[in-house]
């Protein structure tokens, strides 16, 4: 219990730090959204009018006051208003999250399946060269840029083969290519870690003992190796979530999907700081929650970690 509370406290600390760093970095950007939108000479606003707009956005007070203002707002669930559109950031995020969650969730599941398929293929493959090919695939995958893969997939499957329509696709059809684009680079490090972990466990003396009791390879892999190899794979999966968030930004742009990624790109263009601030905290929250879950699940997989938990 102490362990869980400690993890939660440190997760909250990470969130606060992410908020603060994002706030400082965004403030340090030259210019601001108010200036971009209202100091346009075509609008013909006077200096006093601009000053009153600044005041209404709370942009005229000191840095510390602004920090406190937006922090207390965030804690109360008020994420502020978009400077570019005037809509509440909460509404904007709320409309973007479901589609990104679907894309990222599916991408993650497909990546995990792909990684498991690669790892098992490499381990169980009867022929040496096939195992070698499967073992070297992840290195190839890891070096594929997301935007390039997306464009190549569209070229091949949509334009050449005409298998998947890019213009007004059905809801399911629209997900296939983006999910693949997102999954391939994420699956690579997972597969690498899993193969390595399985190799390490296979070399442990207890595997020889199980074999000496008459177990076959499939029994050993499923009942002994997998659980022991799961922990490193789980840990890397938590870390890869960050990559998933970054990948979603590129993927949504390439496939013109609406979601948090697109929202990020648009907000960056417009230097819409309240929206960016909201997105950073959202991403940090997702990252922290997933890694918290990983930390809480790990002792269930490996009982040796429980000792540290109870201590």
């Amino acid at each position: 219990m102490t362990y869980a509370l400690g993890r939660v406290a440190s997760a909250a600390g990470v969130l606060l730090a992410a908020f603060t760093v994002a706030f400082l970095l965004l403030q340090a950007l030259p210019g601001d959204a108010v200036m971009i939108r209202f100091e346009n000479p075509e609008l013909g606003l006077s200096a006093e009018q601009i000053a009153s707009v600044r005041e209404s956005y709370g942009a005229d007070v000191g840095l510390l006051a602004q920090y406190w203002h937006s922090l207390s707002g965030f804690l109360g669930g008020d994420l502020g208003f978009s400077v570019a559109s005037g809509a509440p950031v909460r509404t904007l995020l709320g409309s973007a999250i479901p589609s990104t969650l679907l894309l990222a969730g599916l991408g993650f599941v497909v990546a995990a399946l792909l990684a498991a398929a690669l790892a098992f293929g490499a381990i169980l493959s009867p022929s040496g060269w096939l195992a070698n090919v499967l073992r070297s695939l992840p290195s190839l995958f890891v070096s594929v840029p997301v935007f390039w893969l997306g464009i190549v997939l569209i070229q091949i499957f949509s334009f050449r083969l005409g298998l998947i329509s890019v213009i007004r696709p059905g809801p399911l059809e629209a997900l296939i290519l983006p999910v693949l684009t997102l999954a391939v680079p994420i699956s690579a490090p997972m597969a690498q870690v899993l193969v390595r972990a399985i190799d390490d466990v296979q070399a442990q003396p207890f595997i020889t003992v199980v074999r000496s009791k008459g177990a076959g390879e499939a029994w050993i892999l499923l009942r002994n190796v997998l659980r022991n190899a799961a922990l490193p794979a789980l840990t890397i999966a938590g870390v890869l979530l960050g990559e998933l968030i970054g990948g979603a930004v590129v993927t949504e742009t390439v496939f013109a999907r609406f979601g948090v990624g697109r929202l990020t790109a648009d907000a960056l263009d417009a230097q819409d700081i309240p929206v960016l601030q909201g997105i950073v905290v959202l991403a940090a929250l997702a990252f922290v929650v997933v890694n918290l879950l990983v930390d809480l699940v790990a002792p269930l997989i490996d009982p040796r970690l429980k000792r540290r938990v109870h201590a």
Partner: protein, 549 residues
């Protein structure tokens, strides 16, 4: 123990003319064993004895068809319970393993699945062979745990491996191996990772099993004394060939092969006469203060203010003194605090209280340059030289390094000369000086580690299980080298060892430690001739090949 000669029972294992090789393919095959023949009768213990590279483990692995990748039987036959299994299929072997032949592994620490409960690990054999209905599995597991002498079996079955000691884990592994009542157990160095008192109890358990259940046991060991004590018959292997075979009494008592005689001479037991000349008063100046004096040393771990872990006292009020030119041994089982004491002497570890006086200086109070200067006077040699030598340095560079670090000698040329002299002193010829650690044998690497220590001309050499990982013949050479060096240079040794037979050969005085406390202290001759404490008596009685009352 005497052989139980029943009139020609069918052997549980019969190996005829077995040759095993590794490799194949382009590299060609390297043959590692040559026409080995033996058989194990029901209820018999046969020991395969040899040093590393003798082919003892390879032969045992072939008997359960668990040779490592690339290993193959080149010639000969293997029969289990009269069935020729030399060319048996993989699936036939799977049904034989566990039922006809079981394995007791070397390292109990890594041989249980860390994510499985003890009970589940033991039940695995039943599950694999679908040999018992699920509802009675738990009862069978408890029966087996009782059979191997574990207390509170119901609770143990629910525990995980990391909650058990090494000896308990080995009992669990034996329970798992005998679950389906195989006629043959292969025990590959089953006790070499265990403390000596635990070793004795595990060997007693194996002895009970063969007597009560008629299990034949193929015991693989490097320890001739252990083999002689536990086995009915002994097979001595060297370089993959049988050197000698016979009943334990004959092989140990009246060996015919030259190699067996050398093994027996090099492996110290309590029956071996001590060759070393004990250091006497005449060897040192009478009024000289001891080189090292440890007084009431206490070392504690844990007890952090925030973590609220209880304080663990690793060393508790230990005192001893070593006069110049003599050897003092700290002996004890794992967790006795012997290594922690040595670390405090070398100023690698602080102390809660007490004092360590080396050459008149208080080690525990020294800081900075003074402590660094003191380190020159204290050098360490560890159990595993492979881990303490930089794999990318040639051995000459390794020996030069401490000279350079301390800025000794005037010129690089003089340093090199000095390092070469040190390597030659430990009998490493110039041809080897450019090699890297992995290109040397275990004994040669340990010589490098010694050269690296003596090149600084230290006053005190700490030998932490320095010969424990070596074959007995190599161990004997290293011990002779250390003895010569001590006499030549008047060095003082602090020896840390779990092996009392070795300690008896090399130490002048002994401190027996248990759980951080001194159990007994005295000259080596006194301690071994008339131990005063039960614990010391138990330790001495546990040494294989000892003289039993």
């Amino acid at each position: 123990m005497s052989a139980q000669q029943t009139p020609s029972p069918a052997p549980v294992l019969d190996v005829r003319g077995l040759s095993v090789g590794y490799g194949g393919g382009r590299g060609g095959t390297t043959q590692v064993t040559h026409e080995i023949s033996f058989s194990v009768a029901p209820g018999e213990i046969l020991a395969l004895v040899g040093e590393s590279g003798s082919g003892k483990t390879t032969t045992a692995q072939a008997a359960i068809n668990l040779l490592p990748q690339g290993g193959q039987v080149l010639a000969g036959s293997i029969a289990l319970d009269g069935e020729d299994v030399t060319d048996a299929s993989a699936s036939r072997w799977r049904s034989l393993r566990g039922r006809r032949v079981g394995l007791v592994p070397q390292d109990p620490g890594g041989s249980l699945d860390p994510t499985k409960r003890i009970g589940d690990s033991i039940a695995e054999a039943f599950r694999i062979h679908r040999a018992a209905p699920r509802r009675i599995l738990a009862d069978r597991v408890v029966e087996l745990l009782e059979r191997v002498g574990l207390d509170d079996p119901v609770r143990r079955a629910k525990q995980y491996p990391h909650e058990l000691s090494g000896g308990m884990k080995q009992r669990v592994l034996i329970a798992g191996a005998i679950a389906l009542g195989p006629g043959l157990l292969i025990a590959d160095e089953p006790t070499s990772a265990l403390d000596v008192t635990v070793q004795r109890r595990i060997m007693e358990l194996l002895d009970d099993l063969r007597r009560e259940s008629g299990t034949g046991i193929l015991l693989v060991t490097h320890d001739l004394a252990l083999a002689g004590e536990a086995a009915d018959r002994v097979l001595v292997l060297q370089g993959g060939r049988v050197q000698e075979e016979g009943t334990s009494e004959v092989v140990l008592g009246n060996p015919t092969a030259e190699y067996t005689r050398r093994l027996l001479a090099d492996a110290p037991t309590l029956a071996t006469p001590v060759h070393r000349v004990a250091r006497t008063e005449a060897d040192r100046a009478p009024d000289e203060a001891p080189v090292l004096a440890v007084s009431d040393l206490t070392v504690e771990f844990g007890g952090g203010f925030l973590t609220r872990t209880p304080v663990f006292r690793a060393v508790d009020g230990v005192s001893f003194a070593i006069p110049r030119g003599t050897t003092h041994a700290l002996v004890g089982e794992s967790g006795s605090g012997k290594t922690t004491t040595a670390r405090a002497v070398a100023a690698f570890q602080g102390a809660a209280s007490g004092s360590v006086t080396l050459l008149g200086q208080d080690v525990l109070a020294l800081r900075g340059p003074a402590r660094r200067a003191l380190r020159r006077q204290v050098q360490l040699v560890y159990q595993n030289p492979f881990g303490s030598l930089d794999p990318r340095q040639t051995i000459l560079e390794s020996v030069l390094e401490p000279l350079t670090n301390f800025g000794l000698e005037a010129s690089p040329g003089a340093r090199r000369e000095h390092a070469v002299a040190a390597l030659e002193r430990v009998s490493l010829p110039a041809a080897l000086h450019r090699r890297r650690p992995r290109e040397l044998s275990g004994g040669q690497r340990q010589r490098v580690a010694i050269a690296r220590a003596i090149v600084l001309h230290p006053e005190l050499l700490i030998l932490d299980e320095a010969t424990s990982a070596l074959d007995v013949t190599v161990q004997a050479e290293i011990l002779r080298l250390l003895d010569d060096l001590q006499r030549e240079r008047g060095m003082t040794y602090l020896v840390i060892s779990h092996d009392l037979a070795v300690v008896r050969q090399i130490a002048d005085t002994v401190t027996v430690l248990r759980r951080g406390r001194t159990v007994e202290q005295g000259t080596t001759a006194e301690i071994f001739a008339s131990p005063q404490q039960d614990y010391t008596r138990d330790l001495i009685a546990s040494i294989p090949g000892g003289v039993h009352p």
